[in-house]
């Protein structure tokens, strides 16, 4: 098979996506993902995330540009390639609607030519990890969205894909279900050294799972790097929240020279990161402070800011 050394995805560039008029869905996307990476693909709606995943899973063919996944050109759709990856779309089900999931799993066993013993071991492992054993024999249509998503993931992982594409897997799920999916994905990914590319709108997914973040807007890459670095690079300040005993002394707050906001007994300050250490003692001295917290700007806020900025006006150094 593919025994020559190759990048998982190498050099995807200048991709076009054609409808009745030519829409450049993806243009300057140049991305290499190494084996075992867990990458989040972020971007506003219509940025080209799903198009990108469709390209990588061979559902669509670009007018220009190239891509290699596991050494194969995805849109040639060879069976060898298709046996080695999986795609899970949060808004689409692969399981048979009227039948218990166990039946869909059985079909997967045949489609992916899995050894019976190995199939059973993998299935049991995944099912127990998600605690969904008792759901296996219920028709899928009777399950809740969260339960269904868990079984979708089991189905997708039965053939032990080397590469997994997840398109908004947590969409519409409650917090508990999201958490259990996070735990599950993190564990399976780490154990199998699986390469995962995930699109999502929930920063909790990203924070829980992905070390690397790629931000796409208008079909090109705006940022590619670690999650921590997003915070470093795109924010210059931290958020300091004070819980006060009495009413805040606005005069003093103004004198500090940082933007602030008063919410009841709380004062929220945005303070330059480099000056936190100097300023904090001063703040604490003057007020009757019951509690204080220093936090990074929430990821949602940073990313929203990133989404708003045009590709051309990206902060220096963010383009790879």
């Amino acid at each position: 098979m593919y025994d020559k050394p190759e990048g998982l995805f190498s050099s995807i560039s200048g991709l076009f996506h054609r409808t009745s008029r030519v829409v450049e869905a993806l243009k300057g996307v140049d991305l290499t993902v190494e084996k075992g990476e867990f990458v989040a693909l972020l971007g506003p709606n219509g940025a080209g995330k799903t198009t990108f995943l469709k390209l990588l899973s061979g559902i669509i063919t670009p007018t220009r540009g190239e891509a290699r996944v596991l050494g194969a050109v995805p849109w040639q759709r060879t069976d060898d390639f298709r046996r080695r990856f999986a795609l899970v779309m949060g808004q689409r089900n692969q399981l048979w609607w009227d039948l218990p999931a166990a039946e869909s799993f059985r079909l997967h066993k045949e489609i992916y030519r899995l050894e019976p013993a190995r199939f059973e071991r993998t299935r049991d492992e995944l099912v127990d990890l998600l605690g969904v054993r008792k759901l296996l024999l219920q028709p899928v249509r009777d399950l809740s969205l969260g339960e269904r998503m868990k079984l979708e993931l089991v189905a997708a992982l039965l053939h032990e894909p080397e590469v997994l594409f997840l398109d908004e897997p947590t969409i519409g799920l409650d917090v508990v279900a999201q958490h259990s999916l996070h735990r599950f994905l993190a564990k399976v990914q780490a154990e199998r050294q699986m390469t995962v590319v995930l699109t999502t709108h929930y920063m909790k997914d990203v924070a829980a799972l992905c070390k690397r973040v790629v931000v796409i807007t208008h079909g090109s890459i705006l940022y590619d790097g670690s999650l921590e670095q997003i915070v470093d690079r795109f924010t210059s300040h931290k958020i300091v929240t004070l819980d006060l005993d009495g009413p805040p002394a606005e005069e003093r707050l103004k004198r500090l020279g940082f933007p602030y906001e008063i919410r009841g007994p709380q004062v929220i300050l945005r303070i330059d990161r480099t000056r936190i250490a100097d300023v904090l003692p001063e703040i604490l001295r003057g007020e009757s402070v019951r509690d204080v917290s220093v936090e990074d700007v929430p990821l949602e806020e940073i990313v929203a800011e990133l989404f708003r900025s045009e590709a051309g006006q990206a902060p220096a150094g963010s383009q790879r």
Binding site: M1, Y2, D3, P5, E6, G7, L8, S10, H17, R18, T19, A25, T32, E34, K35, T51, K54, S57, G58, I59, I60, T61, T63, L70, G71, W75, R77, D79, R82, R83, R84, A86, L87, R92, Q94, W96, D98, L99, E103, S104, R106, L107, K109, E110, I111, Y112, R113, E115, R118, P139, H159, E160, E162
Partner: protein
């Protein structure tokens, strides 16, 4: 930049696909699909019972119509069909249609293209047409299981209209033409459904097809009645033109075979043409799928 990709355990354990093994594997996949489709269809078996009985309603009108026609003429037969033959013919086309009609097939394919559920078959190493065929066979098997009883009852009550049971070779030819009519109907409608890759909605195309099909398949009247009618091509009657089209093999042929209207070399020749159409439509269906998915993947979805 470049990572070397160690062969995974999966690959190491995957069966080496020799030609024979590949054949066995795809048979196993197909068989599992068939079994699972069967289970799925059984969820809806209730639909069938009512549907089956409803199917016999139009035939009652036909019987009345032809009774009136025969009442108005002193002739004992029309185009070689006595009044009894006509009733038997209609009942037999019901059997044929139970094999060759594919309710919801074309529309279902077009819908799966439109709503994107066809993607599953692009991503997974599985053949969509093979899946559709398995699903349809399952559909038919469940249908026959449910419909045999009402069919048998109707035929029992109408036994007086039928000529004596044909000989074994005629019965065999009848059976073969029925099986071929299933495949012909399947590939015809599946190909129509594949047009969904080019047109968002195929229901009007399917409707037009149904109309032509109804007229030219012999579903409406025995096609022998077209024998004397000129087709516009000099020296060729409408009946012999229709003989070269695929439609009559989805209703007329099996019924005519049972009634002994087609015999000997004509019969063999008809079966050859029918088989030829099955091959042509199977290839057309495959080509439409190839082109369609290429188009789909180029235009997104």
């Amino acid at each position: 930049m470049m990572a070397s990709l160690p062969p995974s355990d999966l690959q190491a354990s995957a069966r080496e696909p020799g030609l024979l093994q590949a054949g066995i594997d795809s048979w196993r996949i197909w068989w599992t699909m068939l079994v699972i489709c069967l289970e799925e269809r059984l969820v809806y078996r209730g639909d069938f019972i009512l549907g089956t009985l409803m199917r016999f309603l139009p035939i009652v009108t036909q019987v009345f119509l032809w009774t009136a026609v025969f009442g108005a003429t002193s002739r004992g037969d029309i185009a070689g069909y006595s009044r009894n033959d006509i009733v038997a013919y209609y009942l037999l086309t019901m059997v044929t249609r139970a094999f060759s009609s594919m309710p919801g097939l074309a529309g279902g394919i077009a819908r799966s293209v439109r709503d994107g559920s066809v993607k599953k078959y692009l991503v997974q190493p599985v053949d969509y047409i093979g899946y559709l065929l398995a699903a349809r066979i399952a559909h038919k098997l469940v249908y026959y299981a449910v419909a045999t009883l009402p069919f048998a009852a109707v035929f029992f009550f109408c036994r007086a209209y039928f000529p004596p049971l044909p000989d074994a070779s005629t019965l065999a030819a009848f059976g073969l033409s029925l099986v071929l009519s299933f495949f012909l109907g399947f590939f015809l409608e599946a190909t129509l459904g594949m047009l969904g890759f080019w047109f968002l909605e195929v229901s009007s195309i399917v409707f037009a097809y149904m109309l032509v099909q109804y007229l030219l398949s012999g579903h409406m009247f025995p096609l022998d009645m077209l024998a004397g009618i000129p087709s516009g091509i000099p020296g060729v009657s409408l009946a012999s033109l229709v003989h070269w089209l695929p439609f009559e093999y989805t209703a007329y042929l099996p019924a005519a075979v049972w009634l002994g209207k087609i015999k000997g070399a004509d019969l063999v020749w008809s079966l050859v043409i029918e088989a030829g159409w099955v091959v042509v439509m199977a290839v057309a269906c495959r080509i439409a799928w190839r082109r369609g998915t290429r188009r789909y993947s180029a235009f997104g979805g």
